[in-house]
Symmetry: C2
Subunit: 323 residues, 2 copies
Amino acid sequence: MTINDVARTAGVSRQTVSRALNDKGEIDGSTKQRVLDAARELGYRPSRFARGLVRQDTTTIGLVIPDLLNPFFTEVAAGALEAARARGWHVIVYDTADSIDEERGTLEVIVSQVDAVVGYFSLDEAELDRHLSGIPAVLIGREHRTPRFSSIRVEGATGVREAVDHLASQGHLRIGMLDHASRAGQSVRRKWFTDAMNAHGLNADAVGNAVQSVDGGAAALHELLAEHPDLTAVFTFNDIIAIGALKAARWLGRAVPDDLAVIGFDGLQLGAVVHPALTSVALDTRRVGALAIEQAGRLLAGETQLPDEELQVNAVLLVRESA
Amino acid sequence: MTINDVARTAGVSRQTVSRALNDKGEIDGSTKQRVLDAARELGYRPSRFARGLVRQDTTTIGLVIPDLLNPFFTEVAAGALEAARARGWHVIVYDTADSIDEERGTLEVIVSQVDAVVGYFSLDEAELDRHLSGIPAVLIGREHRTPRFSSIRVEGATGVREAVDHLASQGHLRIGMLDHASRAGQSVRRKWFTDAMNAHGLNADAVGNAVQSVDGGAAALHELLAEHPDLTAVFTFNDIIAIGALKAARWLGRAVPDDLAVIGFDGLQLGAVVHPALTSVALDTRRVGALAIEQAGRLLAGETQLPDEELQVNAVLLVRESA
DNA sequence: TTGAAAGCGCTACCAT
DNA sequence: ATGGTAGCGCTTTCAA
């Protein structure tokens, strides 16, 4: 079923069919109608490949995220989808299931299907570069060297400082943290925390390590409080872990925020749903996704990139109930 | 930058380049290496359009969902992505933002970009059919007539019956419902509820209507209890609304489940995070997504479709804490 | 207003 | 092992 079949049925040349289908002028009204009828009757649909080949205008972005079920990535994805739709671009979503092998597999297949790649990657830059063989990429929350790449940076030092200020102003002196250490070692968020604590002359030595899940956060709080029973507040790597901490606190009979104040990171909508509602160092997650798309567009067009300040998303303290 | 440039640079014909790039045999090792080097040097990437045109093998599915931020749809999407990945297919995700106009726009653009469409639609079938001009589609949670379409059905009568049984066995006699009425009128879930109540000889007249959001659920419970203060249990259209009800109950000083039992529908993972953990008539959401992809594949291949029973996902009662 | 011809970038098939 | 030729389905000149 090609354009030629339509042409034959309508008794015209295929160029005329093309004109009718693409709403070009230069065609007689009745001819056009006849062509359109024939096309409908035959159930004809233009091939996207043939069309893409000749009109170089469809843009498709690959969005790579580690886990779509994690609301943080979902929010970022939603922002990206919206920004892409505004430009008439298409987004193919790849979920790497938090696995580095799946990530390799994804990259393998992605290069032949999209014009640019955006998202969260675990591979080191050399391997990324190799797999991506020439496609522009926007790394979120991670620096880059490769000129063809770009980064969306998350600036949380100020927000975390606000969080610690907030706790300190309420008289908290013993504040712990639930970090999420990766292969790369301590997180940047932990560094922000340490700096903020030091600025208050406080010790930042009560730090536990949590698996990235609600249960992981709960388990980690158990351990941390066993070791440091005197803690009156905890800051966590992110909201998921914080929600686990909320659970554990309830289990331990520690009322939040009175017996234990909890502050998360990310500012997920989910945090408003739990009880007590989660106080968090909030990121504009949708903006992260939107920025990534915007920047991918610039890389693609070879335009001047956004200045560093604009490629940065700042986190700010969002006070709800848990602290 | 085409295959010809690479051929010229490597001093071979473009067919040889193609062989090298596609790992075909019939090529000398050193020649292959030379070609590969040239390609890398030039930063050459094959055009997906040209390739798709000649090898008719890449399959792309369009996944249409009303709101990616709604965890229900996210879970379905995750199931769909996983099933698609297993087949080597690509999924373009479209978020229609719960708007019928966006849905129209999406369909407009989708037909020229994907091989089949899967998801949740609000348009009536005639208009759907018109927009989709020939592409196969799998409608989730909704019946179809068009032969080119297919449906994934959600069977909840049994699960809802279990829910009501569960409540009745605990002595609940006054059970209300928070429905989510759409333009089409009362929901099927309400019918299931009514039938289950009647089977117990109970009245199903305490039914409120909730907007599809946490706050909507909270507001609806307020109203419902104001009108029917004697209710000791509520069943809700879905988990999102149930979580709102949980919030409202806390606000009203009604302990859950002792003063008010709450049962939702969907069985979202989110329900395990809130407190008390939500009892729900649970759907295997990932399976819904996976089935939709599977069925799309069959429509595409012209294979025999799955029998009706297999195109159906059954909901079962998942008892947690709220009832 | 219509049609013929060229060509988008690639792979498959048949020579050599 | 390599190259020539044809053709995938479409749009875009250019002529008529």
